[in-house]
C-alpha cells in the first residue's frame, strides 16, 4: 500500500513539471519547423516554379524533328558566333566564374559591331576605351565584378524567415488564449506549490542536482 501511494504521488508530481515542458517543446517545435521551412521556401520555391515552366526546350515542329521523327534540340543561338565548346557542349551563353568563356558571343553582329571588329584588326592602341568596352559587351554580358556583385537576397530570406517565426508566435498566443485550459490550482495556488516543494524536500527528491540538492538540511534553509 505504501508503494502504491508513493507511485500515485510521484505521478502527480511528474505531471506538474511535464506540462511546462510540453508547452515549451510545443513552441520550440513549431518555431523550429517553421524556421526551417520558411528558410528553404524563401529562396527555393521561386526557382522551382520557374524551372517547371521553362524546361520545355523540345519542339515537335517539322523543322525540329530529326530524320527519325524524334524531336531534336533546337539551337537558339541565332546568328551569334560560336567561339568555343562551352561548359556543356551546347551553343549557349552563361556567365560563370568557373567557366568564363561561353560557347557563343553574347550579341549578334550588327553593322556597328562589324565596323568595330574591322578596327580591331588593326592596332589596338587606336581603340578608345569606349570602343574596347563595346567590343567586350558584344562578346560578354557581365563582367566578373557584376557576376560577383551582391544581390541582397539574404534580406528577403532573413525577413521572410523572421515573419514566419512571428506568425508562429502569434499562433501560439492564440492557442494559449483560446485553446488551452486554465492552469490547474496545483500549479497556480502558491500555498499548494509551497506544500509540494516541502514534500519534495522531505522526500529528498533529486538530491544530487535537483530540488533537494539546493536545500541545506543542516540549517533548514535554501542554499545560496
Amino acid at each position: 500500500m505504501f508503494q502504491l501511494a508513493s507511485v500515485e504521488h510521484l505521478d502527480l508530481n511528474m505531471n506538474w513539471s511535464l506540462i511546462n515542458i510540453n508547452i515549451g517543446l510545443d513552441l520550440a517545435c513549431k518555431l523550429f519547423y517553421v524556421t526551417m521551412a520558411s528558410f528553404a521556401v524563401g529562396s527555393v520555391v521561386r526557382r522551382c516554379g520557374r524551372l517547371a515552366g521553362g524546361a520545355a526546350r523540345l519542339s515537335t515542329s517539322a523543322r525540329a524533328l530529326g530524320g527519325d521523327g524524334m524531336p531534336a534540340i533546337i539551337e537558339r543561338h541565332g546568328k551569334r558566333e560560336v567561339i568555343g565548346y562551352g561548359y556543356n557542349g551546347q551553343p549557349n551563353y552563361i556567365d560563370r566564374v568557373d567557366y568564363p568563356i561561353p560557347a557563343v558571343r553574347f550579341k549578334e553582329e550588327t553593322p556597328q559591331i562589324k565596323a568595330l571588329r574591322e578596327k580591331e584588326k588593326g592596332d589596338w592602341k587606336n581603340l578608345t576605351k569606349e570602343e574596347v568596352q563595346e567590343l567586350y559587351r558584344a562578346t560578354f554580358c557581365r563582367t566578373f565584378a557584376e557576376i560577383q556583385a551582391p544581390t541582397g537576397e539574404w534580406k528577403l530570406a532573413l525577413g521572410g524567415t523572421l515573419i514566419a517565426c512571428s506568425l508562429a508566435i502569434w499562433v501560439y498566443i492564440w492557442m494559449k488564449l483560446f485553446v488551452y485550459d486554465k492552469m490547474p490550482a496545483t500549479i497556480t495556488d502558491p500555498q499548494r506549490v509551497e506544500a509540494q516543494v516541502q514534500r519534495m524536500i522531505d522526500l529528498r527528491m533529486n538530491p544530487v542536482q535537483g530540488v533537494a540538492s539546493n536545500w541545506d538540511y543542516e540549517k533548514g534553509q535554501w542554499k545560496n
Binding site: R50, Y99, I101, W124, K129, V132, F140, A145, E146
Partner: protein, 152 residues
Amino acid sequence: MIRNAFSRALVAGRAGFLQLAPQSASVAGCRHMSKVAESDEQLTARYVQYFESKDIDHWWLSKHINDLAGTDAVPEPDIIKACLHACRRLNDIAMAVRFMEIVHFKCGNRVKEIYPYVLQEVGPTLKELGIPTPEELGMDKPQLALEDVYDM
C-alpha cells in the same frame, strides 16, 4: 603555377575521379593516377606551347582559357603573355580583357599580393599590345546591372 600544398592534394584527388570518365575531353587538371603528377614548370611550358601555336583558333583559345580557369592556380606570367599574343593573332581584344579578369579572379583572397606582381610582369606586354586592364576600363566595379530572370 603559383599553387599551395592543399590544392596539390585536391588535384591529385581529382585525378582518380576523372579516370572513371574516359569520355571527358578535359586536358588541364587531368592527372591520371598511373602517371607521375605534372610539375608546375611542365604545365607552364605546355600552356605556353598551346598559346604560341601559330594556327590557334577561337575554339582552342576558349578551351585552354577555360581549362586554366578551372585549375586551382594563378597562371604564370609566361602563360599570360602567350595568351595575350594569341588573342592578338585572333584580333579579339574582348578575350584579352576577359583573360585579365580571369587572372584577377584566380588570385582568390590573395589578390593584393599576387595581382600587382602579375601586372608588373605582364605590364610591358599589355602596353605593347595596347590592351587596357579591367581596372583602367572601370570593370573592377560593377557597371551595369542585370535583372534576375526570376524577378521578371
